[in-house]
């Protein structure tokens, strides 16, 4: 609450000059309509009321669903990658059984170049073809015959040479 009377008496006692000046304008001015414009300047920058209840519920629902959707997308991505990954092949012959090795050779024999095999030194030119094949029309025929007659250890050596 303004303390006018007490203040006036106090000023009169301290300084009559300042007591007199207190009743007069101080010479300070403001631009026209300054205070009318002030609220217009201030209020648009302030956050107004919160969004209505329905919008708030929607926002809460979205906040709950978005993480779930993100997690589902990640899992889907992982699943697709897992399903599409190429079948791994055991390149280590020591982990294969002899029937598997023989099956592999039967399936891929056409890819084996007889000269590659000879260069690898795995198949001695004379040991198989001369000992196991009689009357082979050509080298390839002899090679195919040799495959069916090779022992597992010999097949393993052959695979290592081709790799």
């Amino acid at each position: 609450m303004p303390d006018k009377n007490a203040l006036r008496q106090e000023l009169e006692a301290l300084s009559p000059l300042l007591a007199k000046l207190q009743q007069q304008p101080d010479g300070l001015r403001v631009p026209d309509d300054y205070f009318e414009q002030l609220s217009v300047q201030l209020l648009p920058s302030q956050p107004t009321s919160r969004p209505p209840a329905a919008t708030r519920r929607t926002l809460r629902l979205k906040r709950a669903i978005y993480p779930l959707l993100a997690a589902a997308a990640v899992l889907l991505f992982i699943g697709v990658r897992w399903l599409n990954q190429p079948a791994t092949e055991c390149l280590d012959p020591t982990c294969l059984q002899s029937v598997e090795i023989q099956a592999y050779i039967n399936d891929h024999i056409q890819q084996f170049d007889s000269y590659t095999l000879l260069e690898a030194g795995t198949i001695p030119e004379t040991s198989y073809f001369s000992e196991s094949v009689e009357g082979a029309a050509d080298f390839d025929d002899a090679l195919q015959h040799a495959v069916y007659t090779l022992h597992p250890e010999e097949l393993e050596e052959l695979l290592q040479a081709t790799n």
């Binding site: 303004p2 000059l17 300070l28 919160r50």
Partner: protein, 187 residues
């Protein structure tokens, strides 16, 4: 909820309710903006500076109204924020402009006569210079007592200072200003 809150309690109630926050702020502006402006203006003198400080003050009020604990009146709280913002501004300006603490009013001697928002006579001009010569906190006390006509108890709540210290500060300020005016007014 009142459509046009008038009392401080009504204004606070509106400000603390999301639906009526804007109406509460409008009511607060209507009731206090001029008084806050003039207090700040007399602290910093320049209208442009006062406008900046006032806007910062009101933004802080809007932002921190939920933290107002009502230990003092809303009126005291607003003036405390305004005073602190003005003093912070003055300290920063002095650093930036290299204004001497011994003669802080020196810049006003040259700028005041040409200021577009001052049209006082010689005595009023000297009064403004004398006010700027006071230390910031003493000027603050003087303005709250002299122009806002606050009681010492209200000023004590606003500035968190004892009434005795405030009375002494005001008396010294009055004597300093009177001496300056008497030494610098040409009759």
């Amino acid at each position: 909820m009142p459509d046009h809150p008038q009392s401080d309690e009504q204004i606070l109630t509106c400000l603390r309710n999301d639906a009526s926050r804007e109406a509460g702020f409008r009511a607060l502006l209507e009731k206090y903006q001029e008084r806050l402006y003039w207090h700040i203006r007399r602290m910093v003198f320049s209208h442009e500076d006062a406008n900046d400080v006032l806007q910062n003050c009101l933004i802080k009020v809007f932002r921190f109204i939920d933290q107002f604990e009502e230990r003092a009146s809303l009126y005291s709280w607003l003036f405390r924020i305004a005073s602190n913002e003005a003093i912070t501004f003055l300290q920063q300006r002095r650093k930036q402009m290299g204004i001497s603490l011994e003669e802080p009013q020196a810049f006003l001697v040259t700028t005041l006569p040409s200021d577009p928002y001052f049209d006082g006579n010689e005595l009023q001009e000297k009064l403004q210079i004398a006010l700027q010569a006071l230390p910031d906190k003493q000027r603050q006390v003087f303005l709250l007592r002299y122009y806002e006509e606050m009681s010492y108890r209200e000023i004590a709540h606003t500035l968190d200072t004892s009434e005795g210290a405030l009375k002494a500060s005001f008396h010294h300020a009055v004597k300093k200003i009177e001496r300056y005016l008497l030494e610098n007014i040409v009759d």
